[in-house]
């Protein structure tokens, strides 16, 4: 299955839920915020959110800034 994460195409071995994806791509999920196809997915819904072929996922977090 192919999805786009943070603008980069990623091939996933099998269909996964959002919680699996976050854990696979982020060192720690604590401060991760997710947006799937333009809609914010709250942390509490990650496990119930399954990814589809062609989905666009944003994984964002806080960094230093002024």
């Amino acid at each position: 299955m192919n999805i786009t994460i943070n603008g980069t195409s990623k091939e996933l071995a099998s269909a996964k839920n959002l919680s699996d994806i976050v854990n696979a791509f982020c060192k720690q999920s604590k401060h991760v915020i997710t947006e799937l196809n333009g809609t914010i997915v709250p942390r509490g819904q990650w496990a119930q959110t399954s990814l589809q072929e062609g989905d666009a996922l944003e994984l964002v977090t806080f960094v230093g800034g002024g």
Partner: protein
């Protein structure tokens, strides 16, 4: 002399120094600078996670009692600023947002018009909105109407360390706008921060100067002292400048008679 606290959106702050967290060489300098600044509000930005490089999250270095102010840097219009603000809020940390809308890559000046639009939308959604603007009276009035919590006029170009180039226009906002005025951008030295506070600014936000100093924590402390000194000077009722000399010592009872030469 006792000062009243800085109040933003009903929340009281003893410190009038807001610190930005960008450009620090390392996390140790950052956490020491936050401590030395006594800042109770620090800004952060929101970015895509780098999937190739695992870095420790900046939030691990910001004390929990500090209010997090997420900026919308990277936004080129109101719509993008609103999206970034909503993402920050979804983290559970940030419903305080600094609106920063920039679409000019040379001068990095904020787009006041788009900033007003974003402020209207986000204030209505319950965000505490601190808009960053080029100092302009009509923009500031529109922002008051739009529900802004403060007005944050720039002192000079972002990251330029040029100080209060916009002083006269900030003075207009201080005279006319009944919201806290936080001078943001371009403040490169404690003397410049003190100057803003002596005018009656309610607070100052500094990032580049501290982050790029040889010893950031020392400069953070110096800024904190200057901001406090400037605030006290403002509260003291500074005497006006005079165009001629006024003797400080009595002009009577001289030991010597005034010479004829005078």
């Amino acid at each position: 002399m006792t000062d009243s606290p800085l109040v933003i959106a009903g929340k009281s702050f003893a410190s009038r120094f807001l610190l930005g967290t960008g450009k620090f060489n390392n996390k140790k300098d950052l956490s020491q600078s936050i401590a030395a600044s006594s800042s109770e509000i620090v800004t952060v930005a929101l970015r895509r996670i780098d999937l190739e490089r695992h870095e420790e999250n900046i939030l691990e270095y910001i004390p929990p009692q500090v209010t997090l102010l997420t900026n919308t840097s990277g936004a080129r219009n109101a719509e993008e600023a609103v999206r970034i603000a909503r993402l920050a809020k979804a983290s559970g940390y940030g419903h305080w947002v600094k609106i920063e809308v920039i679409n000019d890559s040379k001068y990095l000046l904020p787009d006041n018009h788009e900033t007003i639009k974003a402020t209207e939308i986000l204030s209505a959604e319950g965000f505490v909105v601190l808009p960053y603007i080029s100092p302009d009276l009509y923009t500031a009035r529109a922002l008051v109407k739009a529900g802004a919590a403060t007005i944050m006029p720039l002192g000079s170009f972002i990251g330029s360390n040029q100080g209060l180039k916009t002083k006269e226009f900030i003075q207009v906002l201080l005279n006319e706008i009944d919201l806290p005025i936080v001078v943001d951008a371009g403040i490169g030295a404690p003397s410049q921060a003190a100057e803003a506070m002596e005018m009656g600014a309610d607070a100052v936000l500094v990032n580049t100067a501290v982050a790029t100093a040889q010893n950031p924590a020392v400069l953070a402390h110096a800024f904190a002292m200057a901001i406090e000194a400037g605030r006290l000077a403002y509260l003291s009722g500074l005497p006006l400048q005079q165009s001629d000399a006024r003797a400080s010592s009595p002009l009577t009872g001289f030991l010597y008679a005034k010479s004829d030469a005078n």
